[in-house]
């Protein structure tokens, strides 16, 4: 059977199945098996694309090339490890009486549907379907964020829903304008929203409309990426949702939203003379980086702090893609990969740490290394990795972004260094006493899943030291597509 169809069908069917059969003892395993199936299908699809080049599916409605197959593989992989992590995590939550069985059922079915919407958003060729999938991803995650029915959780979910709802409405307006521009060239047919058709005629698209359209698309999807000043929902949703949800929000959803912007940027670049889209992204990226860095130092909640760290990295990545060109795009893609893997590993470690200590307040989390050395080291190494310490892969991508900025946008370099420096001081100063220091331990009924943490960090470390040639080729290919 077709790997692509398999990849979309597995999460959809298992999501429905998990809803119907309800919470059983084997439900967590089904969740993992479904994620594994999705991952294997994604690997198969990747191999197929690498061997045979880009392909369509369902007529021309879906299109897979080297750019999005890279995101697909990453999404399916983190989806798999997160489902492994969430097994014992959710059981512990249940033992603590924080989640009931119907809630767990909701969690698993929404998790699978969320994977489905993300994979659909990544692989679609139709900008309308892309928009619908992004909206559906918002709705499923709203339910995931509000999984615990406490006032703070509901507030976070409400804020998330309204802000991202408005954002997604802006993106729809941008999409309408894009269609408006496209139908002048392609005529009134369903093709006017197909990316592969648009890319062929991008030079003929009316620049004024495209400029306005790209602004709306950037602001709209940018809300979901967490670009300042529209980032307000992000720390709340990350801090209040269950930790596996924080991990996939940070590691995957932000990437998917950024991917949507990148697809639109390629079109805008072709239509608008001058580097309009790039400059806009550079501005938003730098501003986001700075805002997030300074908010970082004021955080007391550990998940909130790492949520701000995600905003910071998204700013950096947006900046990298804004600079454009093969080197910066390569660095941006690499950084997206590194950030996804590292940040989700951190959230895994943080999740177990908060379960052990029973709090998310950093001042009350102390001496993780004594409670559980593996979690302690996982958090410490993850933090060092995300802060861009060599030899981890984040260092490589940040270094590339910095040197490229120095060469082409020298004025931006001090801002970048300031942002990264402030973030380093803020995060390291807070994580260090959490890991070392004195504490009394608490025993968890279910042993935490440590493997995903070290699996992710291991890959990040490996990619920092050595990027296999086929991966380099793949990144180059994807970076070239972005122009």
């Amino acid at each position: 059977m077709d790997f692509f169809i398999l990849m979309l069908v597995i999460p959809l069917v298992s999501g429905a199945l998990l809803t119907v059969v309800g919470e059983r003892d084997w439900a967590p395993n089904l969740n993992i098996i479904a994620s594994l199936g999705t991952f294997l299908a994604a690997v198969g699809l990747t191999a197929e694309i690498v061997a045979n080049g880009p392909r369509f599916a369902f007529g021309e409605q879906f299109f897979i090339d080297s750019l999005n197959v890279f995101f697909v593989a990453l999404t399916a992989f983190v989806g798999l490890t997160t489902s492994i992590f969430s097994g014992p995590y959710m059981r512990n939550e249940q033992e603590h009486g924080r989640l009931t069985r119907p809630r767990l059922r909701l969690y698993k079915s929404m998790y699978q549907l969320f994977m489905f919407t993300m994979l659909a958003a990544l692989t679609t060729n139709n900008l309308g379907i892309l928009w619908v999938a992004m909206e559906a991803a918002t709705l499923t995650t709203v339910l995931l964020v509000s999984l615990y029915r406490t006032p703070a959780r509901l507030e976070a979910a409400w804020k998330y829903f309204i802000l991202c709802g408005v954002g997604i409405a802006q993106a729809l307006f941008g999409t309408i304008l894009l269609y408006f521009a496209a139908e002048r060239v392609l005529g009134e047919s369903g093709n006017a929203l197909l990316w592969t058709h648009l890319i062929d005629v991008k030079a003929q698209l009316e620049p004024n409309i495209m400029a306005l359209s790209f602004i709306f698309l950037l602001v709209g999807y940018g809300t979901k990426v967490g670009l300042a000043p529209l980032h307000n929902w992000l720390p709340d949703a990350h801090a209040e949702g269950p930790t596996p949800v924080s991990a996939v929000l940070s590691g995957l959803l932000l990437n998917v939203a950024l991917y949507a912007i990148l697809r639109c940027k390629v079109l805008a670049d072709g239509a608008i003379p001058g580097d309009f889209a790039g400059k806009l992204m550079i501005g938003f990226g730098l501003f986001t980086l700075l805002v997030a860095a300074f908010f970082l130092s004021r955080q007391k909640d550990v998940k909130r702090m790492f949520a701000y760290s995600s905003i910071e990295h998204m700013g950096l990545i947006t900046f990298a893609f804004g600079m454009g060109g093969p080197v910066a795009n390569f660095a941006g893609l690499l950084h997206m990969t590194m950030h996804s893997l590292t940040k989700s590993a951190i959230f895994f470690a943080v999740g177990h740490a908060t379960q052990k200590t029973g709090t998310q307040l950093m001042e009350n989390i102390r001496g993780l290394i004594r409670i559980n050395p593996l979690i302690g080291w996982g958090l410490m190494l993850g933090t060092l990795a995300i802060l861009g310490m060599p030899p981890f892969g984040v260092f490589a991508s940040e270094f590339m972004i910095l040197t490229h900025a120095m060469k082409h946008y020298p004025w931006a370099t001090p801002i970048l260094l300031l942002g990264l420096g402030v973030a380093f001081a803020a995060i390291f100063g807070k994580v260090q006493p959490m890991v070392f220091g004195e504490t009394e331990a608490k025993h968890l009924p279910h042993a935490p899943a440590i493997t995903p943490v070290f699996l992710h960090l291991g890959i990040v470390l490996m990619l920092g030291l050595y990027i296999p040639p086929y991966l380099t080729r793949w990144f180059h290919e994807a970076a070239r597509m972005l122009g």
Binding site: G128, W131, V132, E135, A136, L139, V142, L143, S146, R149, T150, P151, A152, L154, E155, A156, A157, W158, K159, F161, I162, G165, V166, A169, L172, F173, T175, I176, L177, Y179, F180, E183, R184, E188, G190, L193, E206, N208, I209, L212, P235, D236, A239, E240, F295, R298, Q299, K300
Partner: protein, 216 residues
């Protein structure tokens, strides 16, 4: 000049203007139930304008859109909102953060901005209803303003739905309907779920209770 514009285009422009007017009326409205009625009226006008576009252009899928708009925006949603207001005993007064005359002035300014931004683009369009793009953008901005300045969750939702009306107007009138229309109503299903949970937790639908999460 006016004679050159066909009757149907004039009709669509008229409906678009009515939608804009209703957006202003919603901004000025102090009573919750009247606000919902205005929203229903806006949905109905939107349905009429979509119908005119459908008849003029002969695009069959626009008939479905018009029907769905009538069903969802003019009937089902207002009915649900009405029921919610009564069931949850929301105070009938709309509470605004900024007083209403000031909001109206800001709204005027937004409309001018929207028209100016849309002007160069509408001139490029060959569709009969190009003028509506500016109006649609103005409606979106006014709805946005309403969401920002109102305190009740329910008013924010009305603002959100009104924003969707503006987008829908842009999609149908300015571009003859993109094939995405059905989706717009979906977001609403979740809202109902939400209201009841917020009700459980806060005993009211006031956003002011939602101030716990902050960066101090």
């Amino acid at each position: 000049m006016n004679a050159a514009i066909p009757f149907s285009a004039q009709l669509i422009n008229l409906f678009a203007a009515v939608i804009l007017l209703l957006a202003f009326a919603m901004l000025a409205q102090r009573r919750m139930l009247a606000l919902i009625n205005l929203f229903a009226l806006q949905g109905f006008t939107l349905c009429l304008s979509t119908l005119v576009v459908a008849v003029t252009t002969g695009q069959s899928h626009l008939y479905y859109s018009a029907g769905l708009t009538l069903l969802l925006k003019a009937m089902v949603l207002p009915w649900i909102l009405h029921r919610l207001v009564r069931k949850l005993n929301v105070k009938s007064e709309v509470e605004a953060l900024i007083n209403i005359p000031t909001t109206m002035l800001v709204g005027l300014l937004l409309v001018m901005i929207a028209f100016n931004v849309a002007l160069p683009i509408s001139q490029l369009s060959q569709t009969i209803t190009r003028g509506t793009l500016g109006i649609a953008m103005a409606v979106v901005m006014l709805a946005f303003l309403m969401m920002i300045t109102r305190q009740k969750a329910i008013t924010q939702v009305v603002g959100f739905l009104s924003m969707e009306n503006g987008l829908f107007l842009a999609a149908t009138s300015a571009t003859y309907g993109m094939p995405i229309v059905v989706e717009l109503g979906i977001a609403v299903i979740i809202l109902g779920v939400f209201f009841f949970q917020i009700r459980d937790q806060f005993d009211s639908l006031d956003i002011r209770h939602m101030e716990r999460l902050k960066d101090n």
